[in-house]
Subunit: 222 residues, 2 copies
Amino acid sequence: MRLALLGGTGDIGEGLALRFGKDTDHELLIGSRDPEKARDAVADYEDALDAVDADADLKGFANEMAADRADVVILSVPPYYAGDTTEAVAEKLDADTILVTPAVGMNGDEDGMHYHPPGVGSVTELVAKRAPDAVPVVGAYHNLAAGKLADLSIEFDLDTLVVGDDADAVDTVVSLSNEIDGLRALEAGPLANAAEVESVTPLVINIAKYNDELHDVGVKWI
Amino acid sequence: MRLALLGGTGDIGEGLALRFGKDTDHELLIGSRDPEKARDAVADYEDALDAVDADADLKGFANEMAADRADVVILSVPPYYAGDTTEAVAEKLDADTILVTPAVGMNGDEDGMHYHPPGVGSVTELVAKRAPDAVPVVGAYHNLAAGKLADLSIEFDLDTLVVGDDADAVDTVVSLSNEIDGLRALEAGPLANAAEVESVTPLVINIAKYNDELHDVGVKWI
């Protein structure tokens, strides 16, 4: 498959690019608003993958171009860009393109991070509302430990939760996610259940803040 | 210590009574609105503990009486009784009594369970507002797998998250929780961070609903 990582130069984009690059044979299209920045990131990711003898297929593009060529488009942009980026690439998407969103709305104060969803209930549902009706939207990769993901010397055993209204699209994202070594994808129901999934993200940041022995925290459901 | 489990005849009360009974030497006061019901529960718990050769100290009381005698009062009642039960026992509590609340506000629809906090932000904070000012309130035991907890034949490896504004009370509850075999207590910050902890409870129910291999789901932060 061809996977596009829009905003693929950020934390979660980097981690997913490196892990899909190391553990799968999928073609990876790294997207950025600035294609030059995308190509620079690709050079860095290739170095990191070479260092672990992984042979990956990565290319850098502007977001629109990456989305146009992909079977699965992962919207790894900050939450306040999720809606706009969806609209910016909307005409490149169709019923055969799965749009995956990992973004979470949060705000912080001295106590820690707090879940701060948009009025529609969750960023995942916001993306679904802004995407063309025919495009299946899936929420995933919200609660990953980004640092662990992006450090290929670290082996992990973590879960990611997948939500979506289109059963085939959910199945595809679950299977795709399970191809990453140490990652297990679990389903959490339709898009209406996304808020509870997203609110784990501020929580893992709070757990890292208040427990010295835990820095880059992920989750396992057992 | 003396631990009171108010509403100790319910799911989470039963699980905590059995685990504290099996793994610690604390005196356990099982509370119920109906003291007869509390004494019946004690007889059942003693049978379950005898079956695993555990020698525990349990007694059944009306909630007010149990609260009056305890160092730690665990409010294991349904969320819609949490505020009223707090007020019902308020005059039995003081600055030396830690009030622990595991309750979570949820509602369900065909998609699954959804987090439904009271206006004050979380049930944990609601209890803190209804308790006398001097009483330290701690949130804990929100996301435990109740079935696993109450089945003494099951060994588990689960985390519980602890929130509170009183550092000594939080330390006491963390230490107490860590006395249960297989349970690890982690801190998640002040009471203002309780909502993110509570919202994991509907999520674990949704995960159980949508994944055949997972029935009574708990969580491990790693």
